[in-house]
């Protein structure tokens, strides 16, 4: 009965064609890019305006119907699938870029705008929005803010929170709040914008955002270097950092990944067991050769056996697409169709990378698991893709335990269990571990208190984070 009333009221807000209620139409929303298989939602709702979002939330709150906000469905931790039935609220129809102000350095974009579409538009003005998760072709503004996504350019430009000036967010009550502002500076009480960023849809639905934009670099040079062992990768990065050069991107790809990338993504790399480091350096044309020369010198002194660089757009794009597509070609390595991967997303201070990578590599070797790794080492962020079998529950449990072990290793080196993918369904236990490790378990109860104040009926993406 509750379902029927909710359905009727929601249809009156968004129209019948924007409410999916047939089972087969809803099945695709049980999945995102994670290994988690959500429940079949009661409804999938596709609003077109903030006003419609507001009215839908008010209805859901009144009927205590759970709601899962969803953008491109690219979450790697199960953040955008439903685990409590309820409604999946898809923001894809809200895809307009409402304002671009070069003078004031911001763009106002709706939640459903895809990141690559935004950057394509900004590039016409000679500007860009720097954070670039590997899923930028499909990830939406609302989604990347909700997870505080990072990406390849994090080494120099940081993560999404560093680039959000203000947001329009709808509370579970349906009230619309405009938080932060379009200005670069604003001290206006508690920073509720930052509270919503990274809250994974558990507090409010983000409908619009003022994002800081930046001039495109005058010139970028992409460098790829190959090593015969992992031990010098971390050292190379530390030496580059010490030299005062801040690479835009510094990526690491291990030998397991290299095998599949070489075979499937047209990467011309030396044969054999090699590890790769991919770097971008940007700057004024007059200075860039000096930066590139210095980096090559460091890489060479650290034992890189082949170093290539290019500023040709096609070659650079090929290398970038190899890295960006790496996660998606992984399953070509599996031995049977029920195998999948758990993607670990840990971070350590870059200075700790040499020791951390060595210990991590040994841990993976000792486990006997297939667990290729890569990462944005420029900011100390490593992803380990742990192969497991979804059907074999005992094995799946062991793989999840191994994932937690990697998280604990990151904590030991002063890092965190989650860098840029969020907590979602995957890292709930690990979140507790991290705060316990720092004797700060109270932090989680403070978070829960905040959640209760804003969402007393617990309708906002329930089952995630906590």
């Amino acid at each position: 009965m509750r379902s029927n009333q909710v359905l009727t009221e929601i249809i009156s807000v968004v129209g019948e064609k924007n409410v999916l209620s047939n089972e087969v139409e809803k099945i695709p929303y049980m999945y995102d890019a994670s290994l988690f298989h959500g429940e079949l939602p009661e409804l999938v709702v596709l609003p077109a305006t903030t006003d419609e979002v507001s009215k839908v939330l008010e209805i859901c709150n009144r009927y205590k119907t759970p709601i899962v906000p969803r953008g491109g469905g690219t979450s790697l931790t199960g953040g955008s699938v439903s685990v409590k039935n309820g409604i999946v609220l898809v923001l894809s129809r809200m895809e307009s870029i409402e304002e671009i102000s070069i003078e004031d350095g911001y763009v106002l974009a709706e939640a459903g705008v895809k990141l690559d579409d935004l950057n394509s538009k900004l590039s016409k003005y000679g500007y860009f929005f720097p954070p670039d998760p590997a899923s930028s072709i499909a990830a939406t503004i609302g989604g990347i803010i909700s997870t505080n996504a990072g990406g390849l350019r994090g080494a120099k430009y940081g993560v999404v929170k560093d680039w959000v000036l203000g947001i329009e967010a709808v509370l579970p009550t349906g009230e619309i709040l405009k938080l932060g502002n379009k200005t670069l500076k604003h001290n206006i009480g508690y920073d509720l914008t930052s509270l919503i960023i990274g809250s994974e849809g558990t507090l409010a639905v983000i409908t619009k955002a003022y994002l800081k934009i930046w001039p495109l670099p005058e010139k970028i040079v992409r460098i790829i270097a190959y090593f015969n062992s992992i031990d010098k990768i971390g050292e190379s990065l530390v030496e580059i950092k010490k030299s005062g050069i801040v690479p835009v991107m510094a990526e690491f790809i291990d030998n397991n990944y290299m095998r599949i990338l070489r075979n499937n993504l047209n990467l011309k790399a030396p044969q054999g067991d090699v590890y790769a480091m991919l770097l971008d350096v940007d700057g004024a044309p007059e200075a860039i050769d000096r930066y590139v020369g210095k980096i090559k010198e460091i890489l060479s002194s650290q034992g890189a056996n082949e170093i290539l660089s290019s500023s040709d757009p096609a070659e650079m794009e090929n290398l970038r697409s190899v890295r960006k597509g790496a996660g998606s070609v992984l399953l070509l390595m599996r031995k049977k169709s029920t195998e999948t991967t758990i993607t670990s997303d840990v971070v350590v201070p870059p200075s700790q990378l040499p020791k951390f990578l060595m210990e991590l590599n040994s841990m993976v070797a000792e486990s006997g698991r297939l667990a290729p790794m890569l990462g944005h080492i420029g900011d100390g962020n490593i992803h380990v893709d742990i192969f497991t079998d979804l059907v074999d529950k005992v094995e799946l449990e062991k793989a999840l335990e191994f994932n937690e072990k990697i998280g604990l290793l990151a904590l030991k080196y002063g890092g965190s269990i989650s860098a840029e993918h969020g907590i979602g369904l995957e890292k709930k236990n690990m979140l507790v571990s991290e705060y316990d490790y720092r004797n700060s378990g109270k932090a989680i109860s403070v978070m829960k208190d905040i959640k209760r104040v804003i969402d007393p009926n617990n309708i906002m993406n329930p089952g995630k984070i906590f």
């Binding site: 087969v24 049980m30 491109g72 898809v90 129809r93 697409s321 070609v329 999948t340 991967t341």
Partner: protein, 414 residues
Amino acid sequence: MSSIEKEIENESGRCIKCGFCNSVCPTLSAKDFSEYYGARGRMILANELIKKKNDDFFNFLKLSQKSFESCLSCYACLMECPAALNAGHVSELVRQLIVTLPRNKVAPNPISALITKPITKYGNPLGLRGKDYAWTKGISLPDKGDFLLFTGSLYQLMPYSSKLVKITSKLGEDSTRKLATLGSRFSSVIKISRLLYDPTINTRMQKIMKDIVKLLQISGVSFYYDADLEVYPGTYLYELGFEESFKEYAKKVSENFRKKGVKKIITIDPHTYDLLKNVYPKYTNFEYEVVYYLDLVQIDFNKTEMSATYHDPCHLSRHSNYFAKPRELISLIAKIREPTHYGSKTMCCGGPDELEFPGIASKISERRYSELKNTKADVILTSCPVCYVNLAKDESVMDIAEFLLENVSRKPIK
């Protein structure tokens, strides 16, 4: 499990659901982002389907059928999938699977059935006779030469199909399906199409075909035309999933070519080119050299101050990796302004959905047309009759053959 089912399982089972494909799937945005109509949704539904057994399988297939039937097979998804998976091909496989299953369990889209039955019966999807689309009137075509000029009938069919689209759009999807269900029981009913055609499009298509002939003649190409070989190549049979019927039909067409001593074939539209070049060899002993007519155009053109944008047809660009030659020729005349999506990353015109899902087709063609107009080029060119009809929303849209002929630096042969 049949070989088709195994292939579906293998392709959809390797998908990690990253959603990259959705970002370029034209039907997803045309259906207001319902993933049922998107590339990732199709992969997920195909994978769910293949896990089901007995009646659950058939029931699920019936419910998910429209998802696969609405796929344009434009392969934009393939270009973005880092694992080189192809949701378009998965949709084709499911369409093929449906055709092989008992009709009392699941039946192909009635519109598919309506237009494919006449192909095997009359050698033409609309039951047209040669005189219904005689385009050679007024020109003389050689009967001897190195290349057979094979039109594939697509340009000739456009006046009829566009009229049908106008009718089905007015009727709506459900009424059209009901009528098609009725009509598919009596395949001769399709012959009524002979009376229904768009005269304006008919005139334009005939002109374009004649322009193509003139371009070949000016270029000094040794070609001939044989009306007896001018059969429909079975494009719809293949594209709509009627694999077995296509196989038989294609063998006959191929055999006819062999009997008549054909060695080399000139095609003039992307669908026929793709079919003969890439598909026929997989199903028949097809050993003929197939060329696209633009490859043979060697003419001096007048360089102008004009700007032009070129819409890459999916079957030419993505299916056949063919996008350099049109640009090479256009750039001899005008400055090229590329749209946002071009080359291997072109965007479909929506054409393949125009009969079965006219609402989706119309939204996609509007979007693509806007994108092409946004280039602010003086002319919008394409080299596919389906794309032309879908995009010709103003007079700046032309077939590339018309544009080339208009700008030949010496007068064409009369």
